[in-house]
């Protein structure tokens, strides 16, 4: 992995640089921002996060498990309470719901981890601690021949620091 890292102080400069980088297609662009911004979302135009599917399938699995454990154990040890059916689905909805939320939420977090690529042992190339502090970063992954073009483009849009990394 090699490329060029541009360091920006202003939001609009970084957004303009991303827009042009996407236009000229020099290489894959990764944006670093201390807080999520719609402006970057518009400039990068990423696909919709698939994390929602984890919630759906995890939640459904949890819901089924919640009903199943209550119904199965009630029929496994049949005990009549208040003349009611062994498996009373109305109170068991509480278990269906609670386990739906539990497994759905934990699956969502698993989805976040999988798609965001965390946990990560190292911060890898193209990261600078200043990006969590207040500055913006643009990492352009490109071949050495195109690095100069990428660096020039980043500087043109107001990058305060540009450096090659590998």
């Amino acid at each position: 992995m090699r490329g060029v890292l541009g360091h920006f102080k202003e939001l609009d400069s970084a957004v303009e640089a991303i827009t042009e980088l996407k236009h000229v297609r020099i290489g894959d662009v990764t944006v670093f921002t201390p807080t999520p911004r719609h402006e970057f979302e518009v400039a990068v135009a990423p696909p919709t996060s698939p994390v929602r599917r984890y919630m759906l399938f995890g939640g459904l699995a949890g819901c089924l498990f919640g009903y199943w454990i209550a119904i199965w154990s009630s029929t496994y040890w049949p005990l009549v309470v208040g003349g009611k059916a062994f498996a009373s689905w109305i109170p068991y909805t509480i278990f269906g719901f609670e386990v739906f939320v539990l497994v759905g939420a934990l699956s969502t977090v698993a989805g976040l981890f999988i798609h965001a690529g965390i946990p990560r042992l190292t911060l890898t190339v193209g990261y600078d601690p200043r990006f969590s502090h207040g500055d913006y970063g643009i990492w352009v992954e490109c071949t050495p021949e195109r690095a100069a073009t990428a660096a020039a483009l980043l500087r043109k849009h107001g990058a305060v620091e540009v450096r090659g990394e590998r």
Binding site: L11, P36, H38, R52, S74, G104, A105, L112, A116, H133
Partner: protein, 476 residues
């Protein structure tokens, strides 16, 4: 770069404007919020007091385990007392955190931004505290795991039709989800602390806890989506948990308990008490750490309106209870409510009514809503009032059931009071340790409501920020 402070002339009119006018840039957010992690003498003193209270509670509990539940104030048939009251009290406190972080997030209520972290941490520690009380109450705490469904050699399973088993599922799910919600929200902030940290050991710990978070757009995109869905499922969870707690009572035929109003009544009361505790915590924090420009008067004002609203919902529920007792025409029910308000338990009922219905009406005054000292004092009365609400629900019902020979009295012993005190020590000990280690105000979300630096802006002013029209609010 000039610091600007543009307080509107009529602050209440601008209460929807929850931006942080005295915060210039992202660096200032990092510097000022990270400064709360430095220990102070006041912090050590508070921790010492909390641990002393906890020690008293643990000693009393040990004594109770040795001597048996007879040392608590139980007086048959009043076999639910301070422990169950305190359990419901702490579960209620635990509701505001997820309300503020999840429900207000979905409604895009900006005033949540700077208070939600404290409220979320409060939730986790309050539910941890609440979870202790059923274990203390059963007398033989080493048997509590019998409530959990697991394969065992006795081939026995819990009775899934019992509200007590519903409670186990609801509370354990709530604790897990609240902790997950808190921790997921903390990941970007821990990354900020990691990048600022000079001490290698601390840095290694923070690196581990931040999972190598890099603030990339990809990470934020998935984070925002996951956060949205966590908020979406936490919202019905909040409503369900205290509804399930209310079923512990409403499923019984006892006078005063067997009523369909209990779930919404409990949920509203829980949110009310939780907001009260948020005020109790956040007002000293903003004062001692000098964070008045983060937790602004506008934020307190908006939260106070929420407290006023939930107080009125709770007050309405009290009145509906009285009305139904009269309108239902059941003599035992009527007699019970009369006894509650004008008889044996009048003092507890009037503490409840005064603290939860009458005093919060002061929040109709804008001046008082924007007075932190008044809000803090009121929050203490709300906490007291809400504890007494649960006292009034539990004790008068059990001490005044259908048959006169069942009628009795109840008075807690020093063991009950000591364990109650210990619960506050336990709660505040965890909270104080939290604020010393992790940011009590969300750093990354606070940055979202600070206008970003833009190229043509040298002095940060609202007008400059408007030129670029940056969009605030978490992207998703």
């Amino acid at each position: 770069m000039a610091t600007i402070a543009y307080e509107p002339k009529r602050p209440n009119i601008a209460s929807a404007n929850v931006q942080l006018p005295a915060v210039r840039d992202y660096e200032q957010v990092d510097d000022e919020i990270s400064a709360t992690l430095r220990p102070t003498k006041a912090w050590f003193a508070a921790l010492l007091v909390a641990m002393a209270c906890l020690a008293i509670g643990i000693s009393a509990w040990m004594y109770q385990i040795q001597q048996g539940l007879g040392v608590a104030g139980y007086n048959p048939p009043v076999m639910w007392g301070v422990y169950i009251i305190t359990f419901v009290f702490w579960v209620g406190i635990g509701h505001a955190g997820t309300l503020i972080s999840a429900i207000l997030y979905l409604f895009r209520a900006g005033f949540r931004t700077t208070i939600y972290r404290a409220a979320e941490a409060m939730t986790v520690f309050a539910v941890m505290t609440a979870g202790l009380f059923p274990i203390i109450h059963i007398g033989r705490p080493w048997k509590f795991f019998w409530l959990i469904p697991y394969p065992n050699w006795r081939l026995l399973w819990p009775q899934f039709k019992s509200p007590l088993v519903w409670d186990v599922f609801a509370i354990s799910t709530y604790l897990t989800i609240s902790t997950t919600f808190l921790f997921v929200g903390l990941i970007p902030d821990i990354a900020v602390l990691r990048d600022r940290e000079k001490n290698p050991t601390r840095r290694a710990i923070l690196s581990f806890l931040s999972f190598g978070w890099r603030n990339s757009e990809r990470e934020w995109r998935h984070f925002a989506r996951a956060y949205l869905f966590l908020a979406a499922v936490s919202t019905p969870l909040v409503l369900s948990v205290h509804s399930v707690v209310s079923f512990d009572f409403a499923m019984a035929l006892t006078p005063g308990w067997h009523t369909t109003i209990f779930p919404p009544y409990f949920v509203a009361g829980a949110i009310f008490s939780g907001i009260g505790m948020v005020f109790t915590i956040i007002i000293p924090i903003r004062k001692f750490f000098r964070l008045q420009h983060y937790v602004t008067l506008n934020h307190l004002d908006a939260a106070a309106k929420l407290a006023l609203f939930t107080s009125m919902v709770v007050g309405c529920a009290y009145l509906v209870e009285f009305f139904i007792a009269w309108y239902g025409g059941v003599p035992a029910e009527k007699d019970y409510f009369w006894n509650r308000v004008f008889g044996q338990w009048w003092w507890a009922a009037w503490i409840m009514l005064t603290c939860n219905m009458i005093l919060p009406l002061s929040l109709f005054s804008q001046k008082l809503r924007r007075n932190p000292t008044w809000l803090w004092m009121l929050s203490i009365t709300i906490n007291i009032g809400m504890w007494f609400e649960r006292f009034v629900i539990v004790v008068p019902s059990l001490s005044h059931e259908f048959e006169p020979w069942q009628w009795t009295t109840y008075s807690p012993t020093w063991v009950d009071y000591s364990i109650l005190l210990g619960s506050f020590g336990w709660f505040f000990m965890w909270f104080l340790l939290f604020i010393r280690q992790l940011p009590v105000i969300a750093i990354s979300e606070s940055k979202e409501i600070v206008p970003p630096r833009v190229r043509h802006s040298h002095a940060h002013t609202p007008a400059d920020a408007e030129d670029f029209e940056p969009q605030t609010g978490r992207a998703h």
